[in-house]
Amino acid sequence: MVVAVAEDSRGAEHARPWIEQAKAEYWCLIDPDHRVASLFGMANVPRAVWIDEHGRIVRPPETAGSTDHFRNMDPKTLAMSPADQAARDAGKAFYVNAVREWVMTGRHVLNAPAAREKLPRITDDIALAHAHFRLGVWLRGHDAAEEAARHLAEAIRLHPESWNMWRQAADLDAVGNAAGPGFWARVQTLGDKPYHQPPDLPGFPT
């Protein structure tokens, strides 16, 4: 069973066109407060967690097949070279295939010590950031945009690795801002660091 969670503080109506176009037969849930990101320590999308029949995490949060090839895009036209496009598609296809292998054969499951080692480490600052984010989103929805912006900014300051918080706050300012010049400037500051850490699957194309 797939559970797709939209980390979307603008709410269900904003996510609806994507979900309807996907014609999904699995659960598509709306998460305006980014609760799932908070519970599982996720700082970006798309992220995936594999959960077995007993409710146990057998692969902690990891990049769900996305790659960093988008960083070679032309930021103005969003054009990608055919080679980068193909590499990006290959990453997604590889990940989907790995999920299929897990379902059919149990492959790729991590034992408990290996899974624990890959868990995110949630700090006091990150926990506080999620509280500020929650209050900011609530205030934004209750005609207190200025005060909301303060809490969202504090969340970002406390949890600078969270692209979810930065991009959601930018999107609440104006739809499109999350992929605007500010986003590209922020990606630049990563330098050699990945935007999407590749999932630890043997042979994953990077």
């Binding site: 559970v3 594999w50 509280a131 500020h132 205030l139 930018a170």
Partner: protein, 129 residues
């Protein structure tokens, strides 16, 4: 009235002097029950200092901080967030049981992760932004 945002939902309560609540309202919001030995849940009790108790009311802000959780409020002190601290988050994940949550789909139907027990679940996040 005061609004309190917690992981369990959004609550409207009659708080006084910040986040002082009756025992009944404190239980509704936090899931912890006020007893003579302190605030209790699942057979576990957290002793409360006398200054956090008065006239049958409990200082929920003080209690929540005592549990190691963050507490925030809006400028007008009418909206509060009772957050979840890093210790509880890390402990829950270290147990490797997927933390449960309930969220709604497009039709407003609430769905809980725990309802899928018995199936393999690929939990995946995405966003429109």
């Amino acid at each position: 009235m005061t609004t309190i945002l917690t992981e369990r939902g959004e609550f409207t309560v009659a708080a006084t002097n910040g986040l002082w609540l009756t025992g009944g309202e404190a239980a509704r919001v936090t899931g912890w029950t006020l007893k003579p030995e302190g605030m209790c849940r699942d057979g576990q009790c957290v002793p409360m200092p006398p200054m956090a108790l008065r006239d049958g009311r409990v200082d929920v802000e003080a209690f929540w901080r005592r549990l190691g959780h963050p507490v925030l409020c809006a400028d007008d002190r009418q909206t509060w967030v009772l957050g979840t601290g890093a210790g509880e988050r890390n402990a829950a994940l270290a147990g490797l049981m997927a933390p449960d949550f309930t969220l709604s789909d497009l039709s407003g139907t609430p769905r809980s992760l725990s309802d899928l027990r018995g199936k393999k679940v690929l939990l995946v996040t995405w966003a429109t932004w």
